[in-house]
């Protein structure tokens, strides 16, 4: 027995959410060949099949790429400080992939570690996450290698599993998830099958050991010299979370804002003295991999990677986390 919802009822439900003033985000065909998670204003925009993974990640709905922390205005000789809005409308992130949802509990730890990020936490509290289980995967996917899978519930308030006849099995995991689908599903005698994920491609424990033993190893220069140093991997990664604090304004006033940043940019680690402790691109690639598979697990217990594969798909020169880890495997039996 299972609870199911038809594709058309799901769109009706989404229409209700929009009518109630909730913000809805989900996958959308933005142009031919490009699917992105975006804000949706019409149920017809929602894409629930025909794609593997959107080119971006839904992290920006809780951790926007640009967020004003406060603003200021000069009035004569007075300075007026203005708080940024700190209440956020209820939002539903719909039909996100399980790998993207799994990133949220990982980010929760970071944003509540030595400092509680009130912007992140308030957005997060206002968010309901509805995942869409994966029926297919591509060569870039590797969720099963980092302990996840195509229907893993981590980070989901509710999950939709594609079933037969244009229906989805609805599996709520939290009160928020229950509430979102209460009264709109029907009981069915059928159950959606268990989707199969990509074959396991490496052992994360062995990667961690390799990293701790090969800080100065030749692999970094040999395998990552072609990294061009853009942020396409980090900015489309569901778990990368680095940010910069900037001041922008003019003689009348301005803002202090939090913007995404990436360890792949040379200026990320550039000191005011001119010294750069990570002065070459292979060193910056080593940082990214080590943070994901050694530093973050040591500190927070989670791998800072959910195997979504976006770093590989979006890399201008076909370098992604997976390629480097596969090279490690070729160098040593991983």
């Amino acid at each position: 027995m299972s609870e199911v919802i038809s594709a058309s009822a799901l769109r009706e439900l989404m229409r209700d959410w929009l009518r109630q003033g909730k913000q809805v985000f989900g996958p959308r065909q933005v142009k031919p060949g490009l699917v992105l998670y975006t804000r949706l204003t019409d149920p017809e925009q929602l894409l629930v099949s025909g794609f593997i993974h959107p080119s971006n990640s839904p992290k920006e709905f809780v951790f926007p790429r640009h967020e004003v922390i406060y603003s200021y205005r000069f009035e004569g000789k007075d300075l007026q400080l203005l708080d940024a809005p700190d209440s956020f409308p209820e939002q539903i992130v719909l039909a996100v992939r399980p790998c993207d949802a799994a990133a949220l509990p990982i980010l929760d730890k970071l944003f509540n570690w030595d400092f509680q990020d009130e912007f992140y936490n308030r957005r997060r509290q206002a968010t309901t996450v509805v995942t869409l289980a994966c029926l297919s995967h591509d060569d870039s996917c590797f969720c099963t290698s980092v302990g996840l899978g195509p229907a893993d519930p981590r980070g989901s308030d509710a999950m939709l599993l594609p079933a037969q006849d244009d229906e989805f099995e609805v599996r709520p995991f939290t009160e928020k998830g229950e509430a979102s689908f209460s009264g709109v599903t029907r009981t069915s005698s059928k159950q959606a099958g268990t989707p199969s994920g990509p074959a396991k491609k490496f052992d994360a424990g062995q990667v961690r050991t390799y990293l701790s033993e090969n800080f100065e190893g030749p692999i970094w220069h040999d395998e990552t010299l072609h990294c061009l140093g853009c942020g396409a991997c980090a900015y489309t990664c569901p778990t990368c979370h680095c940010f910069d604090i900037v001041d922008e304004g003019n003689a009348a006033g301005g803002i202090r804002a939090k913007n995404w940043d990436s360890c792949q940019f040379p200026i990320f680690s550039l000191h005011a003295s001119g010294h750069n402790p990570r002065s070459t691109q292979p060193q910056r690639q080593r940082q990214r991999l080590t943070h994901k598979f050694q530093i973050y697990p040591e500190k927070f217990g989670d791998i800072l990677c959910t195997g979504c594969g976006n770093c590989t798909r979006n890399c201008p020169v076909n370098l992604g986390v997976l390629n480097v880890l596969e090279a490690m495997k070729n160098g040593q039996p991983l």
Binding site: V30, K31, G33, L34, L36, S55, N56, R65, H66, L225, H226, L228, G229, C230, G231, A232, A234, Y235, T236, D244, V246, E248, A257, N259, W260, S262, F265, I267, T280, Q281, P282, T312, N314, P316, V317, N318, L319, N323
Partner: protein, 280 residues
């Protein structure tokens, strides 16, 4: 063809003509093609050539990490080679110490990229050595501004709405800058923060400032390799901006960046015969 490419690579490394060959490699057939830096003759077999060889490798020549490998040989397509010409004219490379392996290219991508359909440089012209067959695509030079001309049929307000929509997606990952062989500044204007010249925020204002500034810095310099457009993770068609300025350079000054190795760089030269009808 691939065998002669590998043989050339071996020869260059064995004779010391080059200490590194910058080319395309592939771990296994069917695996992704990526740039490789071959330093030992026995590694020459890593080199490959097929229609997935997208990146313009000229972008690597200005990188410290690559320069430190020593004297380079580089594999270029005809379109990429235009970048070498501009870099040389802008005194950025010593062409004499660079060995250029040109590959006759029938176009990359499946289906072929738009730039390949209107390519006027299937056959590299100034390489030290040219490899590959000469069964070329028909040059489609007449259609090279097609995308731009279609875009310009829109009204100014429609075009503004288009760019607002496109730039609203920009993440400022700077993939457009990093793949560009002409974006070789050691410290980009947008990375300067004492004082800040361009808002680093990925807001609509900051994104307009970034893309328009970059387009103007590429005026008369963009070689039309379209790498910025290919790599944009959010699908912004930056080619339209670049074409707009490239078309102006061609129509106003009869100049196409990287086509004539003797021509003075457009932005770096002045002639009394320059047209000035577009001023005021």
């Amino acid at each position: 063809m691939i065998e002669s490419l590998r043989a050339t690579c071996r020869r260059l490394l064995e004779t010391g003509t080059a200490q590194v060959v910058i080319g395309y490699g592939q771990a296994d057939p069917g695996k992704a093609v990526h740039p490789v830096f071959i330093r030992r003759p026995e590694d020459a077999d890593q080199l490959t050539w097929n229609d997935q060889c997208y990146p313009n490798l000229v972008a690597y020549l200005k990188r410290k990490e690559v320069q430190s490998l020593g004297k380079a040989a580089i594999v270029v397509k005809g379109c990429d080679e235009r970048g070498l010409i501009v870099l040389e004219r802008e005194s950025q490379i010593d062409r004499g110490s660079l060995y250029v392996i040109g590959i006759v290219c029938g176009g990359v991508g499946n289906p072929k990229l738009d730039k390949c359909k209107s390519c006027g440089a299937h056959r590299p012209r100034f390489a030290n050595e040219i490899l590959g067959e000469s069964s070329l695509l028909q040059d489609g030079v007449g259609q090279k501004w097609q995308a731009l001309e279609e875009f310009l049929t829109k009204s100014p307000s429609q075009r503004m709405a288009y760019w607002q929509n496109e730039f609203s997606r920009c993440l400022k990952c700077y993939a457009c800058r990093q793949v560009c062989p002409m974006c070789y500044c050691e410290r980009c204007l947008v990375d300067k923060n004492r004082p800040t010249c361009i808002d680093t925020s990925p807001t609509l204002k900051g994104n307009f400032a970034w893309h328009i500034t970059r387009a103007f810095h590429l005026a008369g310099r963009c070689i039309g390799c379209d790498e910025c457009t290919r790599v944009c993770p959010v699908g912004i068609d930056l080619r339209l901006l670049n074409q707009s300025l490239a078309k102006a350079a061609e129509e106003q000054f009869g100049y196409r960046a990287g086509m004539d190795p003797q021509a003075e760089p457009l932005i770096g030269s002045y002639s009394l015969q320059d047209k000035d009808g577009f001023i005021g």
